[in-house]
């Protein structure tokens, strides 16, 4: 690959994020945190990136995405119990089931945008939630699907156990590397330009001859598939699949995370948002039970005064110190907010 080609695939912030996340298990305990937190961060980063593909890049507010995280978790468990107790097959099952259900939902809602789109996603998510809570034979209902195993990584010749949080973390990190690299290419590909154009003005995109419905359908299905992967990893982390992640509250929290991080203007917004969320949970949560309330209020203040989020504040800081003259623009250009 020539240097330009490498530049297309990897950027400085991406490498910083790989470095930080790649070494995290070695220093996370030294700064007073714990291994499981790293696992949660990694999984939610993947989920938040999937949500931002819709919210930040395509301008489609999916307010019910938690449902797909849950479907991925249930599908992972069910494949493991009923098809084959193999990690790859179970992961594939989770992604495939979520993609199919996501594609089905997308077929209903891809001709919508804005408020209608948001409410349709809420309605679909609630329907999945009701089904998951009532179909006790399959999903375990309110108790959830218990005893989902952390299956070993089967490499043909050797097997690596991921029973420890440390090892499972590196599986999630590998997924993160693949997802980030793939998504970065995707949003900078011609396909990515079209979805950004749909965000700005979908009628114009349609006049240019693009099939807007199909693009929306594809991006929604893809986002669901990635959410399903995150759900499968979450099922392994929790060693179970529970109904609560499908609730509207969790769907709402991921929107909050993406926006606070700055998903509207930066690829790295969701990453910042997830780190902010989990640090807030552990630090604020130590002082008050009502930390989610304060997090929600932070979100409201952010929407009012700085809808560009943490990434926007970072860019403002850079502009102030003269490294970059241009003010913040609502376009999906990368900034240099690393994953720190």
């Amino acid at each position: 690959m020539d240097p330009q080609g490498i530049k297309n695939w990897f950027t400085a912030p991406m490498l910083v994020s790989f470095l930080v996340f790649g070494t995290m298990p070695f220093w996370i305990e030294a700064i007073g945190l714990y291994q499981y937190l790293g696992l949660e961060v990694m999984i939610w980063v993947i989920f938040a990136l999937a949500v931002n593909l819709l919210l930040g890049y395509t301008g489609l507010p999916s307010f019910g995405h938690g449902a797909f995280l849950g479907i991925g978790a249930y599908a992972f468990g069910l494949t493991q119990f009923n098809v084959a107790a193999n990690l790859w097959i179970s992961l594939l099952g989770a992604v495939a089931v979520t993609a199919v259900l996501g594609g089905l939902v997308a077929a209903f809602i891809s001709h919508r945008r804005g408020i209608y789109f948001a409410l349709m996603t809420i309605a679909c998510a609630q329907i999945f939630f009701f089904i998951a809570s009532k179909w006790t034979d399959v999903t375990g209902g309110e108790d959830g699907l218990l005893n989902i195993a952390r299956l070993p990584i089967d490499l043909g010749l050797a097997e690596i156990s991921i029973k420890s949080n440390f090892n499972l973390y590196y599986l999630c990190f590998a997924a993160y590397v693949i997802i980030v690299a793939g998504m970065w290419r995707l949003v900078h590909s011609p396909f990515g330009k079209v979805i950004s154009a749909i965000k700005q003005n979908d009628s114009r995109v349609a006049f240019l001859g693009y099939n807007v419905w199909l693009y929306k359908w594809l991006i929604f299905t893809l986002s669901c598939a990635v959410s399903g992967l995150a759900g499968a990893l979450f099922a392994m982390a929790q060693e179970g699949a529970y109904i609560n992640i499908m609730s509207l509250q969790w769907s709402g929290i991921v929107i909050l995370i993406v926006l606070i991080g700055g998903g509207f203007i930066s690829f790295w917004g969701p990453v910042l948002g997830v780190i902010f969320y989990f640090l807030a949970r552990d630090i604020l949560g130590a002082y008050t039970e009502a930390w989610l309330l304060w997090f929600g209020l932070t979100f409201m203040v952010m929407v009012m005064f700085k809808p560009e989020g943490l990434a926007g504040i970072w860019q403002d800081g850079q502009a102030m110190f003269g490294r970059r003259k241009a003010a913040v623009e609502p376009c999906p250009e990368p900034n240099h907010a690393g994953g720190d």
Binding site: G59, P61, F63, F108, R112, R113, G114, I115, Y116, A118, L119, M120, I122, A123, C124, Q126, I127, F130, K134, L248, Q249, G252, I253, I255, L256, L259, E289, A290, L292, L293, G296, L297, F299, M300, V303, M304, F305, P307
Partner: protein, 310 residues
């Protein structure tokens, strides 16, 4: 056959009561959309908040633990209920004003911001409710006069459903009179038609918006109080309430008063009839209805271009 329809009657009555309450809720939702062009996703939370304030004002297990409230809780139930019906919506109106002040920064921007802000507000209000009242379900105590039921034919009818239907009808009538027979109503209607023009004519648009939002919030609260004995009072009830409001608005068309009332009745009937035959799934019917309506008839029955083109 006759027996079947007679058996259906109580459920139809439930449907009418639900439908009229949905209509009341949606009319507030519609006023806010009309004047502010904001889809208030927190409308259901204001509805829930109204119910919780009423529980607080009715006393018993949801009451305030202060000594000075004790004398008040010793009042007979009827005056307390009337006070709850007046004070709780007023308190919610104040909350609504706070929300409108927050919303000001999103006017004129991408409607997505208004949506995100009210969505955040809905989560925050739900968290506040959980903090204050906890996750448990409350039941609104009622005065004796509107409790219980009576027999008509072989079927038992709930007194409360009749009270709810009559009360909602009276409120809808009052609202209609207010909007159509008073100068204030004329300004609100003009604001919904063209708010810039209202400003040009010398009215204080900010104050109008503040008032309309508070008014819409109070209507949601009233619907919440009257609905409380039917649905129960849970922190999550807000989400279940914002969906019918939206379905009603889409079906009835924004800006159509009687459209909202008839759509409200229709939605109420659907929910009540599913509740009669498939109790477990009655809330699900609302979401299915939303999917069907938005998929096939997003311009509403009136066929006008929707003002919800967010």
């Amino acid at each position: 056959m006759v027996d079947f329809f007679l058996g259906l009657l109580p459920h139809l009555l439930n449907g009418v009561a639900l439908g009229l309450l949905f209509a009341l809720l949606s009319l507030g939702f519609m006023l806010i959309i009309g004047v502010m062009e904001v889809i208030n996703l927190a409308h259901g939370s204001l509805f829930a908040l109204g119910a919780y304030f009423a529980v607080m004002l009715m006393g018993q297990d949801g009451g305030l633990p202060f000594a000075f409230m004790q004398a008040y809780y010793d009042l007979p139930a009827i005056p307390r209920y009337i006070i709850a019906l007046i004070v709780a919506p007023a308190l919610v109106a104040v909350v609504g004003m706070g929300l409108e002040i927050c919303l000001r920064r999103t006017y004129g921007k991408d409607p997505l911001y208004g949506l995100l802000l009210t969505f955040g507000a809905a989560l925050v209000l739900e968290e506040i409710i959980r903090e204050i009242w906890g996750p448990a379900e409350y039941f609104l105590p009622l005065p004796k006069a509107i409790r219980g039921g009576f027999f008509f034919g072989d079927m038992i009818y709930s007194n409360y459903r009749i009270f709810a239907a009559v009360f909602a009808m009276a409120m809808i009538g009052l609202l209609w009179a207010f909007l159509n027979r008073t100068p204030y109503g004329a300004v609100i209607k003009a604001g919904a038609h063209d708010s810039e023009m209202v400003r040009v004519l010398g009215y204080n648009l900010s104050r109008l918006r503040l008032f309309v939002f508070a008014f819409g919030a109070a209507l949601a609260a009233i619907a919440g109080i009257v609905m409380a004995p039917i649905w129960g009072v849970r922190p999550h009830v807000g989400v279940d309430a914002v969906i019918p409001a939206f379905v009603v608005i889409v079906l009835g068309g924004v800006g159509s008063f009687w459209g909202a009332v008839s759509a409200g009745l229709l939605v109420g009937m659907v929910v009540a009839l599913t509740a009669a035959f498939l109790t477990e799934w009655s809330l699900l019917s609302m979401y299915l209805l939303l999917l069907v309506v938005v998929t096939f008839r997003s311009r509403g029955f009136a066929g006008k271009a929707s003002a919800l083109k967010a």
